[in-house]
Symmetry: C2
Subunit: 322 residues, 2 copies
Amino acid sequence: MAGEFALIDKYFARPTPSAVLGPGDDCALLQPSPGKQLAVTTDMLVAGTHFLPDTDPRNLGWKALAVNLSDLAAMGAQPRWVTLAGAMPAVDEAWIAKFAEGFFACAAEYCVDVVGGDTTRGPLNLCITALGEVEPGQALRRDGAKPGDQIWVSGRPGLASLGLAHLQGKIKLPEPWPRLCVGALEKPRPRIALGLALNGIASAAIDVSDGLLADLGHIAERSGCAAAVKLVQLPHLPKGDSYDAVLRKMALECQLTGGDDYELCFTAPGPQSLAISRIAAELELPLWCIGEMTAGPAGEVTVFDPDGKLVEFDCKGFDHFA
Amino acid sequence: MAGEFALIDKYFARPTPSAVLGPGDDCALLQPSPGKQLAVTTDMLVAGTHFLPDTDPRNLGWKALAVNLSDLAAMGAQPRWVTLAGAMPAVDEAWIAKFAEGFFACAAEYCVDVVGGDTTRGPLNLCITALGEVEPGQALRRDGAKPGDQIWVSGRPGLASLGLAHLQGKIKLPEPWPRLCVGALEKPRPRIALGLALNGIASAAIDVSDGLLADLGHIAERSGCAAAVKLVQLPHLPKGDSYDAVLRKMALECQLTGGDDYELCFTAPGPQSLAISRIAAELELPLWCIGEMTAGPAGEVTVFDPDGKLVEFDCKGFDHFA
């Protein structure tokens, strides 16, 4: 047993002040806050599917946790605890040390304790379960949007997939976008503070992991209405000396269908727009009103160009089994 | 998205009466019972490491959940909710349907709701996180054993690994053991009721997943004392017409070092033995007092033969990275 357990202890058993009992027993023990509801999410990341096997393990550690915390953010929950299970082909201590560094940096940034885990031999795979807390009735579900609600998105969706295209040599981004886009890809920042601020304000929310249109479609479907997005209201994307038609097309595609951004897309009744402006100012985070929910067919997402004409898109997101 | 989400919905999104919000949103929402503590455990099962790729998917579904519930049992917790994340090389609907059948059979048997999950492409891998509840201060931790406490084990540890050896043709078990041993291997029964009954009675507990001596060693190490096991007090194992020296040796080895049984090994002060006998009778589950904790070196496990002589063992359990 020594090998496996020594490995876990050395890199992943750190103090867990917010737990009654941390790693090392059959279970971790946690004391939920009185009256709060528990938000639970789990994500599995597979080498070759979600990340390249040669991804910098520090970045991978950060991102593996960040994408789970993003689901808590999309629910308006306060992150509290996480578990981490991992399979790897062999024990590579240098890799594990760097992965743990990135993982715990993200845990520290967002104040979550790593309360348990499991390590085993197998093709590289990471599975994280995150637990957060939210006041009963305040959670930002996907099913609360109503026709007439405004559609909002935070930050600049599309940056991560532009960063990937840049790294792959498919496009050459003008300055200063390479750093911004690659940063968005490698070190996404879950919008925890935004999710918490939207408690009681947003009618529905989701994090943009599969692509803006696809994820907005999930809100529309679960809410039983449609969504209309106006291109002219989207955030600006890369312009520069090398700004050309190829880049412009790619930028728009990334914005609408690129995944991996972990911005929040949310809906809110029109009268909340002032409150939302205040949140944007307080968090120093751009929030864009990009369209409106409509009484159209459940799950339908339509996009209009600056002239009010309908725009067609082929790809609405990323499907691991497509 | 349709492919992936339709797949999840069809087989894994079932009613979740014990959840505020089940699968399909960014997170599940749960309402913990007032005042209770939450016990959390996560396990990753990898094809080729924990099970053969051609394992019957029904059995695999049952066992994948059962081994997690066993960790809750070892903590004395009442199982409530689980999440399931899985990677598979391709969508095999027949396989998924059978896996789900076994998984939900186990969930129904032990009254847990499957509240969330994630499905992705990759080498076959299953990761389950289970949540249970326990009264504050009542959890069966590994670190509470004291010198003089009696050591107990439930059922007949060793059956699962005997079943494996039988299936692999290494031994030929006499009747009626093949059915019992293969059943223990393929459909382990987490000792939930025992764990709950031991609240306030046991001083420490663990489930036998790595092997009796190895897991008892974890209790001893965390409790800062040693353990002495007497062979003569162990449950009887296969005897029959074909009972021979090879089988006897194998049976003893499996009993002491074979994993995958998911019986509970626990310690309790001597005066609790009557209460423990009553529990055995009520649950119709054999409970064996197999030795005593001692003031020896922390983590040391010694085994004595019927003549009181020390017995040596090479292998103390299973280490995925050994």
